[in-house]
Symmetry: C2
Amino acid sequence: VTRVGEGLEFDPRDVVARKRDGVELSAGELRAFILGYASGEIPDYQAAAFLMAAYLNGLTAKETAEITTAMIDSGDTISLGRIRRPKVDKHSTGGVSDGVTLVFAPLAAALGLAVAKLSGRGRGHTGGTLDKLESIPGLRTDLSPEELERQVEEVGCAVASQSKDLVPADGALYALRDATATVASIPLIAASVMSKKLAVESDLILLDVKAGSGAFMKTARAAEELAMACVGLAEHRGRACRAAVTDMSQPLGSAIGNALDVAEAVMLLRGDERGRLRELTVAFAAEALEQLEERDSSAARAAAERSLDDGTAAERFARMIEAQGGDPRVLEDPWSVLPAAPVRVEVVARGEGFLAAVEGEELGRIAATLGAGRIKKGDPIDHAVGLEFRPKIGDRLEAGEPVATVHARDESAAEAASERVRRAVTITPDPATPPPLVFGWHGGRR
Amino acid sequence: VTRVGEGLEFDPRDVVARKRDGVELSAGELRAFILGYASGEIPDYQAAAFLMAAYLNGLTAKETAEITTAMIDSGDTISLGRIRRPKVDKHSTGGVSDGVTLVFAPLAAALGLAVAKLSGRGRGHTGGTLDKLESIPGLRTDLSPEELERQVEEVGCAVASQSKDLVPADGALYALRDATATVASIPLIAASVMSKKLAVESDLILLDVKAGSGAFMKTARAAEELAMACVGLAEHRGRACRAAVTDMSQPLGSAIGNALDVAEAVMLLRGDERGRLRELTVAFAAEALEQLEERDSSAARAAAERSLDDGTAAERFARMIEAQGGDPRVLEDPWSVLPAAPVRVEVVARGEGFLAAVEGEELGRIAATLGAGRIKKGDPIDHAVGLEFRPKIGDRLEAGEPVATVHARDESAAEAASERVRRAVTITPDPATPPPLVFGWHGGRR
C-alpha cells in the first residue's frame, strides 16, 4: 500500500466507511470519489473496498445518478449538432447471437432517423458489434468524432469504437469490478451502461436488456430491475429512454460468431430471413419511429418491415460499410468478402422430441473457445469461426436432424465443440412452450 | 488495474466472490489467498475487496483460525527453547496511559517467570511500549532473536521490536485495512493480535482487551467479543490464553506520553504509587502465577505486591534497561536521564463537583498533537511531551484544583492542549460511580 492522493481535499476512507455503514452518500462525496479515482488520485484498493461495500449495501437511485454524472464528467462528451434527423441510440446488455445493432442501424437510417452508434468489444460469452463488423476486410471502426458526425449526416448511420476519452472512469471501474468480483451489481451496471449512452447526444436511447441463460441477467425480474435503473438515470438527466426486457433463454438469431453474424445480418437486411432476430429489430425500429416521429404502432412496424423487404435498409448498410472502408459487395455475396472457416461440421440432435431448453451462455462459450470471442481481455479474435444454431425452443426435432453447424479452424476443435453443443441442448418428449420475445417495455416519453 | 498472480493455481476472484456471497471459505482457499497476498501475487485491490466483504459478511471462528494460521506461516516464528522459566507473553489492545507492560515485564521476571515481549509502535491515539522505552537515551529495541533469548535467559525479561519477518502478512494487511476503512472488524483484529502472539513461543498468553472511550472497542460487550475471539484462536492452536476485559473509560495511569510513562513506571516499580495502574499490573502478574505456578489467587497477588514494594521488580527493570543499552540510573532519578519538556502548564478544572466522565481518546489525541504520538504512520515522536491527568472518575474536584499538567514544546501548543483538556472533562454536582477496573476474564487453562 502506497499513500497517494495527498492533494485530495477529503479522506477517501470516510466515503468508503459511510458506504460500508449503509449511509447515503452526498453528491459531492461521490463526485469527488469517482473523479479522484478516474484521475488516479484515489488508488485501486480504496475504490475496490468502495465497490464491495456498494455491491453489498447497495446504492440508492440518487447515489447511482451522482456516480453516473461523475463518470460522464470524467471525460469528453459527443455532441452531434450538425445532424438534423432525429437521433436514436441503441444498446444491448449483451447476449448470444444478438445481431440487432448490425441490422437496426441501417434500418433506422432507411426510416429517416440518424444512428451514431458507439460500440464496444465482446466480453465473456457475448459478442461485440465492433468485432463482428471488423470481419469485413478493410472496415475501420476508429472514427474520429468529426468523421462520425459527417458519416451519420451523409449516410444516416455509423458504428464506431468508443474513444478512450469517452467516460474513461467506466473503463477503469469496469476492469476493477472484473478483478474484484463486483461486476454483478445492478446500480453499478446501470451506471456503466448509461454513462456511455448519456455522454453522446441523442433524442432517444433504446435499451435492450437481455434476460435468460445466455445473458448476464439470468431472470426477467433482475433484467427488469436493471431496465428501470437505466431509465431512471436517463430521466435524471432529462433524456428520453425506452428499455425493453427481452428473452435470452436461447440465441436470438442463428449465428454465433463474427463473419457468421454479418452474413446473417445481410440475410435479414435483404428480407431473406424471418424469425425472432428480425422481429426484435423491427420492434426497436418501430419503437424509435413511435417515439421520435409520433407514428402509431402498426404503421411504424409496417414501415420497418417494408424497409427490410424493399432493399432500402440493405442499401444503407452497403453505404455505411463503404463509408467505413469496407467492401460493400458483402451485401450481394457475403462469402466472397467474409473470411470462412476451413472446417464445417454438422451437429445432429441426440434423440427426437421437442427442444425444451438451450444453455445460451454455454453456446457463447463454445464459440469463444473456437476463437470467435475472448476468454480474457485482449485475446485476438478469429472472425471466421463460430456456430450456427438454428432451432428455437418449442421446435419439433426429428432423430438425426442437424441442429447446428460448427465452423472451426481444425477438426479437433470442431469435434470438441460439437460434443459440447449436443450437451447444451435439452430435448423432451412433451411439447415445450416458446418463451415470449419481449417481456415488457419500461420508461416514458421525454 | 494490472494483472498479477499469473502463477497462482486459483482465481482469487472466486475467493472474493464466495466471501461476498456469505459462503464459509475452506482452509485451503483462505491459506492460498493470505499467503498469495503476503507474497505479492494477489494485488492490494483484490485483498481490499476481500477485506470489505469479510467486514460486512463476517468471518466464522474456523475461517478466522485459518487466516491466523496462514498469517503466522507468512513469516518466521520465534522459539525460546533455551529458556527454562515458565514463559508468559502479554499484550494490550491499546489504551491511554496504559503503562502495564513496562511494569509487568520486570515484575513477572522478579516473580521467577520469563517475559520475551515483542512490541509495536503507537498507533493513532494510543501509545506504544517501544516509543515509551526509547525515551531512555541509548536504549535499543532492535534485538535479534538470539539477543532476545539470551537477555531473557539472563535477566528474565526483554522488550524488543517485532522484526519484519515475524508475521509479515499482518503489517501488509493492517496497512490495507487502515486505508480501506476495514480496521474495525473483530475477527480481523483478533487474527492480527493473535498471529503475532502465536508466532512466539510461550506457556501463557495474557491479553488486556480494553473497553471504553479511550480504547478501539468502545463497549465492554464489543471488547468481550474480541477477547473470546482471541481466546478461541489460542485454543485452536493448543495454546494457553487468558484475556481480561478492562476499563478504558478513563486513562489507566496518569501519564500520557513517553518519558512521562517511563517516569510513572519507575514510581510503580519502586512501590511509590498506588492506584488503578498498579492494581491492574498486579492482577496480570497474579494471573500468570496462578496459571503457570498453580499458586492460589491471594498468595499470587501478595507475591506480586511484595515484589513491587521490596525493590526486586525495580532491580529487574534496571537490569533490563542496562542489557538493552539504556542508562539504569533512570530507576533512581528518572529526570536526570529522561528528556523533559521545556514548557509545563497546570490545567485547572472548570467549576467544582464530581468527575463524571473523561474523553479518553481525546486525551490521547491531545498528547499526540503535542508530539507524543503519531498522527500518521512514520511521524517522528517527541519523547518529552505529553500530559499528566491525575483524577479518576468519581473523584471530588474543588474549584481551582489542578487536574492535569501539560508538558509541551512551546507556550502556544501548551495553551491549545490545556483548552482541549478542559473540554474533555465532565464535572457533575452529583457523585459519580467509578467504573470497575476489570469487567471479566475469559479463556481457560491449557
